[in-house]
């Protein structure tokens, strides 16, 4: 990450000097390398959660969503994740004053409703009797632009988070709880850049919604869609990665080294044994 920043900075400085065509392309690199976790304007933070995949509340990354529910509810949110990002889901559950031991869990599913593994983070946690809150976390794998259809690698698109109590005594069922959910992501950058890309992100119902949007723009706000999720700055086109910078700099350095090697062996341009007057 830091190397990238240094490198792209170096390229920015070098670019005009060497007259490289890479100059403009290096600007997004510098912009990309800043952490994307800056909280977006929390003008309308969701205060409700859905109760199924179909009704999941859509949230943005960097937004803290809250929801009140009852112990035993299955609470669903959905968020967009784009290629090169490594999302981290963090949830806090505030439990009622009196309760017995209960176990809470977050599960993350991708746009195809396939369960996504957590690399690390306390996905499941047990709250002892009388504990005020439980904190859960799940760090997903890096989202790739493309994968084999037989793999379940994370792909750009909608991600669903399900928060629920896994195990609770009958007496605790239905007691009020309040929850907080936040999704941030780390930009992994070019290290995760792969070849190939999806024609459309893994957003459920995208085959139904996209032609409609073109036809009847006026009606689209009223009709319900399965998932209308999109990152703030749109889905990445997938052609840019810092690999261009690395490869470009490599080419420049190779050329310089080549010139160096040439001058070293070629000498001043005149063989030594030839007399100067010849």
């Amino acid at each position: 990450m830091r190397i990238t920043r240094v490198l792209s900075g170096a390229l920015l400085a070098l670019g005009p000097v060497l007259g490289l065509a890479l100059g403009p392309a290096a600007v997004p690199a510098a912009a990309d390398s800043t952490p994307s976790a800056s909280p977006s304007g929390d003008s309308s933070t969701p205060t409700e959660a859905g109760t199924s995949f179909r009704t999941a509340t859509e949230i943005d990354q960097g937004q803290t969503a809250t929801a009140s529910g009852s112990a035993g509810d299955y609470l669903y949110w959905s968020f967009p994740a784009d290629s090169g990002q490594r999302p981290t889901v963090e949830a806090t559950v505030k439990l009622p004053e009196t309760h017995t031991t209960q176990t809470w869990q977050i599960d993350v599913y991708d746009g195809l409703r396939r369960r996504q593994a957590c690399q690390y983070g306390a996905q499941t946690r047990t709250a002892g009797q009388g504990t005020a809150s439980v904190e859960l976390a799940c760090v997903l794998r890096t989202v790739r632009a493309w994968s084999e259809p037989w793999a379940d690698d994370p792909l750009p698109g909608t991600y669903y988070v399900r928060l629920t109590v896994l195990d609770l005594k009958a007496a605790d069922l239905g007691l009020p709880v309040s929850t907080e959910l936040r999704v941030d992501s780390k930009d992994i950058g070019g290290a995760a850049a792969v070849d190939g890309s999806l024609a459309k992100p893994l957003v459920p119902g995208i085959a139904v919604t996209s032609p409609k949007d073109e036809d009847e723009d006026d009606d689209s706000s009223a009709t319900a869609v399965l998932s209308s999720i999109e990152p703030d700055d749109g889905w990445a086109s997938g052609w840019w990665s810092d690999r261009w910078v690395w490869t470009g700099i490599g080419a420049v350095l190779a050329a310089l080294a080549g010139i160096g090697g040439y001058t070293l062996t070629r000498g001043t341009g005149r063989p030594r044994h030839v007399p100067p007057g010849a």
Binding site: F53, D195, G196, L198, G261, P271
Partner: protein
């Protein structure tokens, strides 16, 4: 055509209503929008036990009335709201009569707040707790329209009309495929009632809440009514077949079906060359299940060869188990290459204890998306580009070696030229 007929019918109805001198809810004009409007039926227990004074010092009935008043004020404009009571009218001891005691207090339709409030004010705790029959009637109240439908059941005791299990009733209502959710609220709950109400909620994908304070009741009912107001895609009911040959052909969309324990469901989807099939399936656990379960979704050719599968397994308490698959069909060189029929098979490995009913099956939700295919990867790395210090080192080394070599060559050439 239909619109004019409906308008004419509306005008007739309006005239009839006016001549009959009935106060007509201002809804006849809103007929066009009400077809898709969300509907909510609040079902309130008005049985004798609601007289108990244990909610913030007042009776349960008083708490319910206060909550209803606030909810009626806060109900969003587009929601069609109705109120049904159970046990409100028959004070006697005859179970047969008592168990038929459910009445529509306010019909499901555009809300006249004052009128609804007046109706609620007249209620006084009276009779039995016929939850099952009330749910059946409430489902009838909500019939028609394509919007989301929700029953909010508020009760302070378990069903007292024994042979008809309200939980079974709820499952049957859900199985009718009218996309109805039942949320239950238990006032000062005991063990049996909690179990019964949460069973009702589970059977329809709803939620159960325990309520001990008036403000909790108000907040929760408000939340549930607001939830109903959110626009949601309504799935299309379909029925999968036992084999691919007889399977229904699906296009992109959201579908719902039922699947029993150990049953296979087959569907067909046409995929053109260069397109990608995306399918995902969720099978809900709408009854008490054994704690280990799974689901398998397979894409199979018409000849029975498996193309790709999605599988998921889990354990512990769950509402749903789901998985999905992707099948990009390669581009074809031929013009007018025919679409391939892909068979999609859904099986589940839920199991339940001996006493649990096996019919109707568990609800399935199936999403199908046929989109353009992905651009294939010719290399692992993006455009075959490299990155990292090793790459720089190798490039510098080989650049240098090439330079050295070129230097030698040109020196040798000059030497040769000189000697000639």
């Amino acid at each position: 055509m239909i619109r004019t007929q409906r308008l004419a019918a509306g005008v007739c109805a309006l005239l009839a209503a006016l001549t009959a001198g009935i106060a007509f809810p201002a809804g006849a004009v809103a007929d066009e929008t009400t077809a898709t409007a969300p509907k909510v039926d609040l079902v309130l227990d008005v049985s004798g036990s609601m007289r108990t004074k244990d909610m913030d010092g007042g009776t349960r009935m008083a708490a319910a009335k206060q909550a209803f008043n606030e909810v009626l004020d806060a109900t969003p404009e587009n929601v069609l709201l109705g109120i049904r009571t159970l046990g409100a009218n028959y004070p006697g001891d005859d179970q047969k009569t008592g168990c038929k005691d459910t009445a529509q207090l306010y019909p499901v339709g555009p809300l006249d707040r004052t009128e609804a409030k007046t109706a609620v004010a007249t209620l006084s705790p009276t009779g039995w707790t016929p939850i099952g029959p009330a749910l059946l009637k409430a489902a009838d109240d909500l019939e028609g329209g394509t919007g989301s439908k929700r029953i909010v059941l508020i009760s302070d005791g378990e069903d007292t009309c024994a042979p008809l299990d309200p939980c079974e009733v709820a499952r049957e209502i859900a199985a009718k495929g009218i996309g109805l959710t039942i949320d239950t609220l238990g006032l000062v709950p005991n063990v049996k009632m909690r179990q019964q109400l949460s069973c009702i909620a589970e059977a329809t994908g709803g939620t159960y809440t325990s309520v001990e304070h008036t403000d909790e009741l108000t907040d929760r009912v408000n939340q549930l009514v607001d939830r109903a107001a959110d626009p949601v895609v309504t799935p299309v009911a379909t029925e999968g077949a036992a084999s691919c040959a007889a399977a229904p052909a699906l296009k992109s969309g959201l579908y719902t079906d039922r699947e029993e324990f150990g049953q296979e469901r087959w569907y067909k989807v046409d995929v053109e060359p260069g397109q990608e099939l995306r399918a995902s399936v969720s099978v809900s656990a709408d009854r008490a299940m054994n704690p280990d379960y799974g689901v398998l979704l397979r894409a199979v050719t018409v000849h029975g060869r498996e193309i790709v599968r999605g599988e998921a397994a889990g354990n512990g308490r769950t509402d749903v188990i789901s998985t999905g698959l992707r099948y990009p069909k390669a581009e074809s060189d031929e013009d007018e290459a025919p679409a391939e029929t892909v068979c999609v098979q859904v099986t589940n490995s839920y199991s339940a204890a001996a006493g649990v009913k096996t019919t109707p099956g568990m609800p399935i939700e199936l999403t199908v998306d046929v989109v353009d295919g992905p651009s294939p990867a010719s290399d692992v790395a993006s455009f075959g580009l490299g990155r990292g210090w090793w790459l720089l080192g190798v490039l510098v080394l080989f650049g240098f070696l090439a330079g050295v070599l070129w230097g030698w060559v040109s020196r040798w050439r000059v030497a040769v030229w000189r000697t000639n």
